[in-house]
Symmetry: C2
Subunit: 508 residues, 2 copies
Amino acid sequence: MGKENKVQTAITPTRSQDYPEWYQQVVKASELAENSSVRGCMVIKPWGYALWENIRCVLDNMFKQTGVKNAYFPLFIPKRFLEKEAEHVEGFAKECAVVTHHRLQEGQDGRLIPAGQLEEPLVVRPTSETIIGESFSKWVSSYRDLPLLINQWCNVVRWEMRTRIFLRTSEFLWQEGHTAHATREEAMERTLQMLDSYAKLAESYLAIPVIRGEKTDSERFPGAVNTFTLEAMMQDRKALQTGTSHFLGQNFARASEIKYQSAQEKEEYAWTTSWGVSTRLIGAIIMTHGDDNGLVLPPMIASSHVVLMPIIKKPEDRSPVMEFTHALAKALREQHYHGRKIEVEIDDREIGGGKGWDWIKKGIPVRVEIGPRDIAQNSVFVGRRDKGPREKESIPRDQFIKTIVLMLDEIQDNLFDRALRLRQENTRHIDSKEDFYTFFTPKNPEKPEIHGGFALAHWCGSQRCEEKIKADLSVTIRCIPQDAEQETGSCIACGDKSTQRVIFAKAY
Amino acid sequence: MGKENKVQTAITPTRSQDYPEWYQQVVKASELAENSSVRGCMVIKPWGYALWENIRCVLDNMFKQTGVKNAYFPLFIPKRFLEKEAEHVEGFAKECAVVTHHRLQEGQDGRLIPAGQLEEPLVVRPTSETIIGESFSKWVSSYRDLPLLINQWCNVVRWEMRTRIFLRTSEFLWQEGHTAHATREEAMERTLQMLDSYAKLAESYLAIPVIRGEKTDSERFPGAVNTFTLEAMMQDRKALQTGTSHFLGQNFARASEIKYQSAQEKEEYAWTTSWGVSTRLIGAIIMTHGDDNGLVLPPMIASSHVVLMPIIKKPEDRSPVMEFTHALAKALREQHYHGRKIEVEIDDREIGGGKGWDWIKKGIPVRVEIGPRDIAQNSVFVGRRDKGPREKESIPRDQFIKTIVLMLDEIQDNLFDRALRLRQENTRHIDSKEDFYTFFTPKNPEKPEIHGGFALAHWCGSQRCEEKIKADLSVTIRCIPQDAEQETGSCIACGDKSTQRVIFAKAY
């Protein structure tokens, strides 16, 4: 593609040319994942799955430190279980995979057809409140059994009509935490504690700044009393949820009969919570940090940290270059980086000059070229993914080894700062309806450019105003921010009195 | 249950009274898992799931060290994919969960009924050769893309008619490795290498001695050229498979069009392998080590290593006993045990004397009682799960901390040795048909006692003889052992010439 000569980007189109298509091309070029032959289901390739493994490792440790234990519940949910909670079934029955048979057998034309019809259809879990509730009702009988703190890492299925890799797929991987408590206060505390864990994951590991807040009635988890959320701004100014935590009150405890005998020997319903994040977070990483040359991975969660690229032009160079490379890899791998070892790739493919660009597209934080000239100087030629692809510098080998952790920390900080700046530059306090509509309207509706952002505007609290704005602009209330000051004002839609600003945005 | 006074066991019935029922009772008493409301699907409780997490951690490291990378493929397999390999579809179509609809909607009676029929039914993966083959065919084009070494940790579903917790469940968790190679030799080498990894897991971690061997035609994985297996003897003398590795030849490469251009620019089909172990291994742990007081966990894979049980009879004891307990826990947790930290439980439930028995039933390797008298002597009162429940001894605190790793190693070795001895004592070279039939026939057919074992007997190689023995005795050929000497003899069934002994046994 002649990238070396022209000022051209590795990804076509660029973000500003066509953001949705840029996203698809980054997923492809970085080899994170691909669509499968099964509608809406993706194949997560090793480079993408490593991200999920790292996310899982970070969260799993956080969960376990707060006393949560992992368990595993059935993939299938009997139809009657889903029906137990009215809002819940309403929210999930419309898009679910239904198992109706337990056999394939040859039909008259010799093709296989479903056979052995089940007495009761089974739904592939879209979420597990009802099936886990069934177990909880058996496990809880006394206040001594509480709190019950359980998490599950698994796959779930929601039969989405319009799918988009990582962001909205029919099958996705996630964790779902489910807890039961003796008091409302304790359940609410747990709900918010888990939101904090997700915020820590987002900000300290994924380098994604987030806003904590509460969902409005219309955006709540079906069956929940309160849904708390983290909202992040993507580079196209749209919001993406990076974690939700639900206070379920006693709704699911009633539906599943999760009851306990209190210390005063009174029978009470438990208070429950649920909370989850999914492989959607990988979409958030792509859209927060990616650039026109591909993926950009935050070191704290990167699939790998450093790639070493031996440059061998003459056969006699092979042996010294490879020896130097392997010794360097060993020295780097011995270093600790925030609880992980530094992970090092060696790319010894014999494909000429394209290696560097392959790794830029894959978003690895640090690239190192090693040729005979570098070895002669006992130095390495280093490129960082937070800088331009040609901004490379020669660094003495030993200094590089000594400063690699610092370099990764710098990259991590730069990515976070850049994302925070973007959000700050595109967050507005808006007080007039006209400004609000202008903010969210592209100048060229034929080929909409990147526009909008987070609007902090007053809202009267009515669902009608929320729906009006959604209908007019495809803009929704992302959350009622947790730390917002009370402030009187007028609803951006109807002008009625309001006591607090909320965050409006277009969203994924 | 008055266990403290009578010579009674914690599990009723005992192994010799009713082995299958003993198994169910151990699963229950140890809180490993329970049956769910979904036919054949289990709930894996935290104590059981921790075992699976430890198995996963051990294997995942082994896999990664040999260059295998994790990825994730769709849960659903289109019907036409399954149909690609004739033997394969024959083996798996008979018992599978079939998704036919993607919605539930209210029927005329107000109940939910399946709606939105799919154009093509989807099967919930019973195994993923065909769907992974689809990806491999895209990922492989040149010999440079080989070998391709992929593993997936996931759930699979096989609609079993008769289920038994951990041993045969409709849904289970497993890993499935899938590799593609340029040559037959390399693929065969990988097949055997992974069998070695499983053998290491079984022997060094699960403390289960295994026999490596090859399956006969009738017991092979549907579509494979060779299936290699590990066979272990359970305490009821039946065999249980603790890992299989399949050499698939070019069968699946042809079915899925996995082709590559060789260095000589010739188009060739790749050679593929697949290999897996599942949550069935937890059943193997239970049945290899469990005793009439419950589960016995090998320390190398145990959900936790040590339980500390503070004994508080007077309120003024609480503070010093708890302080001592927490300090001891901290000191133990700082110790390394073969790449893990020592894991310590503190059981401070106020339930009187039953704590010790709860932990015996759960199989924790070491139990420590801590009361005011122990503290006065700066000692602890220690019980080991490889010894009798009352065989406890007082050990000075510091000595206990210093020798805990050694103690765990001893327990691990004792469990392995005991299991090996059982297998040796119940493995026979059998040369007459009469002896063979006697060996495998219970003395009391009304209430069959534990009988049989592994019979090393000659077999002519014919499927007819295999089927005859299976029909007569429910005994099958578990494997043709890898390390068996060539030896001439007569087939145990028909008397024809044979060149090698094989292992016959009843099996799970």
